[in-house]
């Protein structure tokens, strides 16, 4: 299962990419594959303050629905508007074009509560074993 080297990961299969004080958030290959064809996404509103691991979005696939939790705390500054009309973008490009939201971090040190790529890879192997 594909993971991206410099991203951080949650046990709920969200990823976060941190650049300076801004984090880009999405769901992983494992999550999109488990959900199947995604048909709807509820994006957070810009300006929303979120706590680490707090629900801030939700996705639905043909046969399932799932909450998305913010991997870190901060304020939502941008959402991926392309997903509104084209939620399947998450299936096709979950680590890149299918990103969900960007937040301005309130505490970049929260990264230490997340898994790095190697740890997440191990975590996935544990799930599949």
């Amino acid at each position: 299962m594909e993971v991206v080297e410099h991203f951080y990961y949650t046990k709920e299969h969200e990823w976060v990419s941190v650049e300076d004080n801004v984090a880009t958030i999405g769901i992983t290959e494992y999550a999109q594959s488990a959900l199947g064809d995604i048909t709807f996404i509820e994006l957070p509103e810009i300006g929303t303050e979120v706590e680490q691991f707090e629900q801030f979005a939700s996705v639905e696939s043909v046969k399932a629905a799932s909450d998305i939790f913010s991997p870190m705390s901060g304020r939502v500054i941008e959402v991926n508007k392309k997903l509104d009309g084209n939620p399947g973008l998450i299936n096709r490009s979950c680590f890149d074009k299918g990103w969900i939201a960007k937040i301005e971090l309130s505490d970049p040190e929260e990264k230490s509560n997340l898994m790095n790529a190697q740890e997440y890879q191990k975590f996935l192997e544990g799930l599949e074993g």
Binding site: D37, F40, E42, E60, V62, A65, E128
Partner: protein, 366 residues
């Protein structure tokens, strides 16, 4: 992943693994839920042709006069005027008028019948048939000898022509014996998708050969239980365990036309009483006002926000690009054209009640 050994496998189990299908438990069987993906398999079924492994389903062979054998009392549909070579949908009820199973009766001869039942209910159905049939009738449960493939989609006839001489003469809801790969087998023009389609009953062990022969045509793709549920929901077809169970009456489930109240059958008294007392709940079909989909066990609320029922099935409909669902509500709210709401704990999404089917452009009767 370790295989769950308590689950039964169809003769196509290895084929599904080779095709990298995602396998799930269903009615006591390990079954493919999807191969390429639900939306791809959906498009393939509505526009081309797909094949479903339905070997898990049950088949009973019965010999005897329809009335003297007791068969007529077991099923709700009328058998007296069912022509040889025709299929008829019906229900198996308990004394209280609850649904033990939904099934299809095939009249093979004047006194020869095949009954096709659901996988999860098969053992229980067999006990009910054996208990209720007259000793003069013969009953054979051939479920584990009989494989079955469903070939569904507007191209299904074209794909089967080279394999099955004479397939084009088969009319909707009829069947016949055809020579296929050296066997003489029953093929019916039936299905669960709303598209032109066929069900082929085949010797269990040789079903993989039939699968391969059909897949020799590159237009054919495999389809799993995930898309099967989407396709049947768009048609408004009931699924046992969702819209039907032992506490739901066929009248509440909107299946009155498959119940012949003029003949004697198990559960009839209870249904007549329901008719005179009035139904407490009724099946409702509804379309979400958004792409958000209802899910089983979501609650249904009136426009005023009062809980009036519960969702039994829901999905995203690729045909109309909104969520669609079925559920049971107080009878006044089941009428089409009304605004309702659905959601997990509170009323979240607006929907409008409607008639079934949700999708009516299928190739079913072409």
């Amino acid at each position: 992943m370790l295989a769950d050994t308590s689950l039964k496998q169809t003769p196509l189990y290895d084929t599904h693994l080779q095709l990298k299908a995602r396998m799930v438990p269903f009615g006591g069987w390990q079954m493919p839920v999807q191969y390429e993906g639900i939306l791809a398999e959906y498009a393939h079924t509505r526009q081309g042709v797909t094949v479903f492994d339905t070997c898990h389903m049950g088949e009973f062979l019965i010999e005897g006069d329809y009335r003297k054998s007791g068969l007529d009392r077991l099923v709700t549909c009328r058998l007296s005027d069912l022509p040889k070579g025709s299929c008829r949908y019906g229900l198996l009820l308990n004394d209280e008028g609850g649904v033990l199973d939904d099934l299809i009766v095939y009249r093979i001869g004047e006194q020869q019948w095949m009954i096709v039942v659901n996988a999860s209910t098969m053992e229980n159905d067999a006990r009910q048939f054996q208990a209720q049939l007259d000793p003069s009738a013969t009953f054979h449960n051939v479920s584990f000898l009989t494989g079955k493939l469903d070939i569904q989609g507007p191209l299904s006839r074209e794909v089967l022509k080279p394999l099955v001489a004479g397939i084009e003469k088969l009319e909707y809801y009829t069947f016949d014996y055809f020579p296929v790969l050296g066997e003489r087998v029953i093929i019916s023009r039936t299905g669960y998708t709303g598209e032109l389609g066929y069900e082929i009953y085949f010797p269990w062990d040789r079903t993989p050969e039939l699968w391969s022969a059909i897949f020799a045509d590159p237009r054919v793709a495999p389809a799993g239980l995930g898309v099967r549920d989407v396709l049947r929901l768009e048609m408004g077809y009931s699924l046992y365990g969702h819209e039907l169970n032992e506490t739901i009456s066929p009248l509440a489930a909107g299946l009155g036309k498959f119940v012949d109240l003029e003949k004697d059958f198990i559960g009839r008294e209870a249904l007549l009483k329901q008719k005179s007392d009035g139904l407490k709940t009724k099946l409702v079909c509804f379309k979400s006002n958004s792409r958000r989909s209802p899910r089983q066990h979501h609650r249904i609320f009136s426009a005023e926000g009062r809980q009036i029922g519960e969702v039994t099935s829901g999905t995203f409909s690729p045909a109309i690009e909104t969520g669609i669902g079925m559920g049971f509500v107080e009878p006044d709210h089941a009428k089409p054209g009304q605004t309702i709401f659905f959601g997990q704990a509170e009323a979240r999404e607006a929907a409008v009640t409607c008639n079934r089917p949700f999708y009516s452009k299928g190739s079913l009767k072409t």
